[in-house]
Symmetry: D2
Subunit: 250 residues, 4 copies
């Protein structure tokens, strides 16, 4: 692979695709060689010499895109949803022992990934832990998917370490005051105009607390994760699930 990676973007005219195109063009080390959208032929990727693609398209077309890329030795960084076990198995079979890499990632926010990892790592060392997520008031679900996922990871880390239930002497409470409970972990959702997507994990032990907070203030915040995926995909042949696999500990 040359010093500059030639990148094609699939779904290039979508909202996310356009941000990916802009990021690839802006950053040293990448060259945007193909913008492909619904009506375009995948052959243009080959003609342009694309070494890797970013795919933010649709569950209906993404498998065809990936079959084409694997066949032509083009690495793929994929944010499209809809991957179940059977799709992942098919990709593994298509890739075989090829040197081509495919990354399937449900979440490209480096900050959210680190927050979840750190929360789970810290969990065994603290008696108490709760999660507060803050989002814009047009969000339909509460708590957020990231908050639920964090609670599950924290609960599992505590269980693995043999930590018992969180202490809570509440005996008189207004309904809802102590939040929702996910796997034994209390989760609180705020809906505030002006906010985008924010989360805080608060852990506490005798005399001290540790707080891990992620603030996502702009939807462009997923682009560094996509670029990280592109930088690493060439040295990770085969199928990888989850951007965290490209983020080594320590």
């Amino acid at each position: 692979m040359s010093d500059v990676m030639k990148v094609g973007v699939l779904g290039a005219l979508g909202k996310v695709g356009r941000e990916v195109c802009a990021a690839v063009e802006d950053v040293d080390g990448f060259e945007l060689v193909a913008r492909v959208d619904a009506d375009d032929s995948l052959e243009s990727l080959v003609e342009a010499g694309a070494e890797a693609v970013v795919d933010f398209t649709h569950p209906d077309v993404v498998m065809d895109n990936l079959r084409f890329c694997i066949e032509h030795g083009i690495h793929a960084v994929v944010g499209t949803t809809g991957f179940d076990e059977s799709r992942l198995a098919e990709l593994r079979s298509l890739l075989g022992s090829s040197s081509t890499g495919v990354l399937i990632a449900p979440n490209f926010s480096i900050g959210a990934i680190l927050m979840m990892r750190f929360a789970a790592e810290a969990a065994p060392f603290y008696e108490s832990v709760e999660i507060v997520e803050l989002h814009h008031p047009t969000k339909a679900d509460a708590p957020s998917g990231t908050a639920r996922r964090t609670a599950e990871l924290v609960a599992r880390a505590r269980a693995d370490a043999g930590v018992g239930p969180v202490p809570d002497a509440t005996s008189t409470s207004l309904e809802g005051a102590r939040g929702a409970v996910v796997d034994g972990i209390h989760v609180h959702g705020l809906r505030i105009r002006g906010m985008v997507a924010h989360q805080e994990v608060v852990l506490g032990g005798i005399g001290e607390t540790l707080t891990i907070r992620h603030d996502s203030m702009d939807r462009a915040s997923f682009t560094p994760g996509v670029l990280l995926g592109l930088r690493e995909i060439g040295s990770h042949p085969g199928l990888t699930v989850g951007l965290e696999e490209f983020m080594p500990l320590g």
Copy 2:
């Protein structure tokens, strides 16, 4: 009144009383002249020349204490609980047009008072507002009394300004995820080992948020409020209810 105020403490051997004694002794401008507890005579106040007392005693004895102080022209700063309308009326009648001052205050935390005031002042200017309180896990009630009171003040300020309900598009929710609702304001209570008493009021409008946070990290945090009460009581004859009356705006 001389430059140094001679102060007596009623309930001097109680947990709170001892902290008051220490604070009065430590700070310039005050002289601790009498420590009075359950078995001591109030006469010692007169003998010691006390100009003012601080009373953290018991609802059963506080009215006797105050009758004695008013009779002897001794100002009183009172943190003892149990004052209903009939007790306040009796104090007003006893004080008449005397130059003696009595302050009855349910809350001596300057920070909590300012947080509530600022939250109510800011409320009319923001679409969204929610309250998060964080306390040690041995607390029995949720949400805290201060959080409820803040919610009531914020709700009233919004109503007075004609602000409608907070925006909230939540359609799918785990039970409790959006907190308790007090007068239309969402309130969330966390219970975390290592915390003492903390509260955050989060307000938001288009593109911006304002957060007012109070952290009480030591029970000694009520002493500055008591000292403020002592400094002001001499120039506030008659009955005053609430330390905020001694904290002028602007």
Copy 3:
């Protein structure tokens, strides 16, 4: 004035002007009747029946704009810079006892205004206070203008209340570790990619701290201030300087 205010925007094609136009169109109670930019005649305001204008233009043209508005009884909410004492004096003279209102405001961020006000109100009650501002790393000046202004207001409030210097026992320090000092108040500036414009005022006394934080996450955050100006300008004849004049205490 009818229930719906007819509004013209001067500088309508500028970056800020376009956001003002969008906000006026979006919000109930206003009708956008004229978009005026560099080459357009001010007469269109009269033809469209504008009751008020918003002016985000240029110091070179704003006085002509305001002379026209005052002459035609059109209220004006002005964010254009460059108003010195002689310009303000001229405006006062032009307005005379007219029922027309003109608001000149250097800052339309309601959150920044409230943060400064609350910081100054709280300042006399706390021994310690410091300011932390956080901005994007392309900002040229440090500390920010708002942080300097806040420090000045806090210092004045402390001086007026007779509060002495902040306590600080630092005897060994790396250069810069304690921040810049503005009127005796320590101010710290962080430059962080991903941030927009944020400020925190931290106040502390025995056992407790009070933190007032303003997060501006989107440049659209000035629009609620402009709309507040429009709502109030009709009932404030003459010249007003500073949006805070339209934000009553308590």
Copy 4:
């Protein structure tokens, strides 16, 4: 080792030693069998059957204490300062291939250790990072030792990952406004009455920030680290330096 570990405390009458004694007595799984201070014989440890000691004594006596413990097969968890390379080498030689464990730890705050670890782990993924520490105003040095150490670890992690200097376009600045610079990382120290020991590491990339905050609100916050040391020391024969060695990743 039995289910309950028999623990002796060296320096039992010191401020820290007394808190250690209280913690060992309070927590299940430990039995306090010996309190040893300056004038007491170490033999009492053997008589009481101590399996492990905690040593918060003095650099002048700690080596004698450890020689005695190693000779008698008593594990040691040591918070006493003054260990240089020659002392560590001597301990390694004394321990040889013994099954006895000795932990030398300069910092028993689990939260501070996790904060430093997470900051270093996150550092390679972010363009910007700065450190803010907040302490009581009687602290003599600025920035704090923990803040300096964090900056060094963060700087090294960035260097190892090939991350360039932090972005900073500041061209006009009041002296000190951008803080102290430690290994290229900006560090800001606040001194606020009411605070104990707090630190925040702020990292940022396009559109998002990650904040890791540690609040130490009570000096008892070191005791969970001591107890962790006691729980682990039996399965870590030989010399260990740094409590973090007993805190496995992931």
